[in-house]
């Protein structure tokens, strides 16, 4: 399946992806948070749609499911905002937004992708740091950081 990759050599931490995410979802709940590893290294934290999602296993309501295409989707109607997935996510990409008892979760801009477009964050990135690609393809042309963790490839670096 195609995933959103962050090229760490290009991200300038301008947070445009976060704004784009904010504007492209009806509930105005951004799913891209910002992580700071050191003061110098800040980058967007985007859902990796893991092959074995910890959030799915943690959800007591079975509100998180893995679709046929591989996307990990939250079922809005079932989510109670308990925050179990937030705790379970090993990458900290699920924001604990409990405003209206629903957790924010990346849906890979399902509606846009259906129309043949890229997700909003990828389209908006001014530095070209975000790409929407097949995990296998990107592994061939770049060094994928964390590639030993099956199916979770979060970031890549150019070689």
């Amino acid at each position: 399946m195609k995933k959103v990759f962050v090229n760490m050599d290009r991200c300038i931490a301008c947070r445009t992806c976060s704004a784009a995410c904010d504007y492209s979802h009806w509930d105005r709940r951004p799913t891209i948070g910002y992580g700071q590893l050191r003061e110098d290294v800040r980058l967007p934290f985007i859902c990796r749609h893991c092959e074995q999602p910890a959030c799915l296993e943690a959800c007591p309501q079975n509100a998180i499911r893995k679709l046929d295409g591989g996307e990990v989707k939250r079922m809005n109607m079932l989510c109670t905002g308990c925050g179990s997935c937030t705790v379970a996510c090993p990458f900290g990409v699920i924001e604990p937004v409990v405003k209206s008892n629903v957790i924010s979760k990346c849906d890979l801009c399902a509606a846009r992708v259906e129309e043949g477009k890229e997700p909003a964050c990828v389209r908006a990135c001014p530095a070209g740091a975000l790409t929407f690609e097949e995990a296998d393809e990107i592994a061939e042309k770049s060094v994928v950081v964390g590639s030993s963790m099956t199916g979770r490839h979060p970031f890549f670096r150019r070689v």
Binding site: C14, R15, T16, E39, P126, G128
Partner: protein, 581 residues
């Protein structure tokens, strides 16, 4: 649902931006504009455009202040009549010279010319454009190269935090760096900014000394003997050692940058100064252009302003003989002006000070065309809802001299009107006034400049920082435009780019007895502010930084006229723990 295209005027890059539109209502941004100049990319600021159109805090109806001092809703006709009556009264009592007109540089050319028409109808020569302090001196000369120069460059010399002030350039700069490899991106600035983090080499100079660094690079380029030009006479008188000492940089680093710049087949200087922190912006821009000119073929210069139509506004202002806005601030504070017509500007956010606020409150009469309620609107006699550039057709001149036209994307919300339309209606209401012709002589731009004298002045002030004082500079943000007067109303921007903090280096904090996250009091000559301390390893010792979009922090800078324009350099401040105050 349709898709309509327009441009973003939050900065002079003029990115193409597309909107989803239902009927005449703008629904949201459509993240894929035409695949031209910036491949449809915009930064966080540009995405706000949509939200501002239907923002709940927008001025929805014309408002007139009644005898109780409260603003009451009314019709456009009544409001324009009151505005005309008030202006006529001030004309009779104090004369046309006591009325000032002010507009701002994210307005289209048509709206700038409307300001000119209004000033002529009133008969005043006091017409101003509220530039960000760095923009006027930055753009005083000819237009620069465009984005293509950066794309093709194998060496980029960036002065300032280009990635943050103009994020859409990042792609070009990063690609240029990856294509060229090696020493190809140099950044000059007192803070290890996002741009500096990407640099092959970051020259961390003392705050405000960018002009000295460029003079040293120029000298090094000429001395290398690789260029066949006659060096300007003043360059031989530059005392390189004292300049390097004042900048806090080594001459070896300067020589390395100069060598890479000259040797590169195509190289470009990109200059994007913050609102405050670079002394004598005009001189730095002139030196950058001289460097590009002297270093041989294939060398270009790109100067980036903060305001979207700043170049267009400079062109209109110079052609029509407008005065520098620093005179407006001085004139208001001294009580020279008794009435003000504001066309979209927010002088209190741009040049905040207590003195200006009380001067605005003491005006006899003021009319404000504005999108949102600000400080002026609290005391204005008539408040009219203005539309943004997205709600009317217009044209603007970008940083590289390109002229762009756009069509309206949506109907103005509620009862707002484009400024040009409102101004013409106001002129019709005013009718024949005093009959004084408001024609002004063209403003003369100082051509002969004493560069060496100005450089020496910067060297002296940088070399003689008093004990216990630090240089305060302002920081741009990727999600807040200029002074933040408009974008500061967006929740997302407020969360992502918080206000009320001051960045200090760990070495400087050691002597203060305060910890990260605690409150400190920062005192400058003009004001003092209580801000939250943010300890950083990005700043060199002796420099502290506040966000440029924070009004409270901006009061620390003095906004008065100095040599005909605002001082753009850092200010000296002292910092103490809250208890000590």
């Amino acid at each position: 649902m349709d898709t309509r295209e327009s441009i973003c005027l939050f900065c002079p890059m003029g990115c193409d931006i597309a909107f989803r539109v239902r009927g005449d209502e703008v629904v949201g941004p459509e993240f894929c504009g035409p695949a031209e100049s910036h491949a449809g990319r915009v930064c966080g600021r540009g995405l706000y455009g949509t939200e501002l159109l239907n923002h709940p805090q927008r001025i929805a109806t014309p408002l007139v202040r009644d005898d109780d001092g409260r603003l009451r809703e009314t019709s456009w006709d009544t409001a324009l009549k009151s505005a005309a009556a008030g202006l006529r009264k001030t004309l009779e009592t104090s004369g046309p010279e006591s009325i000032a007109v002010v507009t701002e540089p994210t307005r289209s050319r048509e709206e700038l010319l409307a300001a000119e028409r209004l000033a002529q109808a009133i008969g005043t020569d006091a017409v101003y454009c509220a530039f960000e302090p760095q923009d006027w001196p930055l753009l005083a000369e000819t237009a620069d190269a465009g984005v293509s120069a950066i794309e093709e460059a194998s060496c980029v010399l960036a002065i300032g935090n280009v990635f943050v002030s103009h994020p859409v350039l990042a792609k070009q700069v990063i690609e240029a760096k990856y294509t060229a490899r090696g020493n190809s991106l140099f950044v000059v600035g007192p803070r290890r900014s996002n741009t500096a983090w990407y640099a092959s080499s970051h020259l961390q100079n003392r705050a405000g000394t960018e002009a000295l660094v460029l003079a040293l690079i120029l000298k090094s380029v000429v001395e290398s003997g690789k260029v066949e030009v006659t060096p300007p006479a003043w360059l031989s008188e530059v005392d390189a050692d004292s300049f390097a000492d004042a900048c806090g940089v080594s001459r070896g680093d300067i020589a390395r940058i100069a060598r890479s710049f000259v040797d590169a087949e195509k190289a470009v200087v990109v200059f994007a100064p913050p609102a405050r922190g670079v002394s004598d912006v005009g001189l730095v821009a002139a030196l950058a252009r001289l460097l590009a000119g002297i270093a041989g073929t294939g060398k270009e210069c790109v100067c980036l302003a903060a305001g979207g139509n700043s170049r267009g506004a400079v062109a209109v202002a110079n052609a029509e003989g407008w005065k520098p806005v620093s005179e407006l601030v001085d004139g208001l504070r001294s009580g020279k002006y008794r009435a003000l017509v504001n066309l979209g500007a927010d002088v209190c956010e741009s040049y905040p000070s207590d003195a200006l606020e009380s001067a605005l409150a003491a005006l006899d009469f003021s009319v404000s065309f504005s999108m949102f309620h600000g400080v002026l609107e609290q005391s204005a006699s008539v408040v009219l809802g203005a539309s943004s550039w997205l709600e009317s057709d217009g044209s603007a001149e970008l940083y590289d001299g390109r002229v762009v036209d756009w069509k309206t994307v949506g109907r103005p919300s509620w009862a707002t009107r484009p400024i040009a339309v409102g101004v013409d209606a106001l002129i019709a209401q005013l009718g024949a006034t005093s009959g004084v012709d408001g024609k002004r002589a063209s403003r003369e731009v100082a051509s002969e400049v004493q560069w060496l004298g100005r450089l020496n002045a910067i060297q002296r002030s940088a070399a003689s920082v008093p004990e216990g004082q630090m240089s305060l500079v302002s920081l741009p943000a990727a999600g807040q435009s200029a002074s933040g007067s408009v974008t500061g109303r967006i929740d997302w921007a407020c969360q992502m780019f918080p206000t009320g903090f001051v960045e200090i280096s760990a070495e400087d904090v050691a002597g203060l007895g305060v910890k990260d996250g605690e409150s400190v009091v920062v005192r400058s000559e003009s004001a003092e502010a209580e801000l939250t301390l943010k300890v950083t390893d990005r700043l060199a010792r002796g420099t502290i930084a506040v966000p440029a979009y924070d009004t409270k922090s901006r009061t620390l800078f003095e906004w008065t006229s100095k040599d005909g324009w605002f001082n753009t350099g850092p200010v000296m401040v002292s910092v103490s723990g809250k208890q000590a105050s």
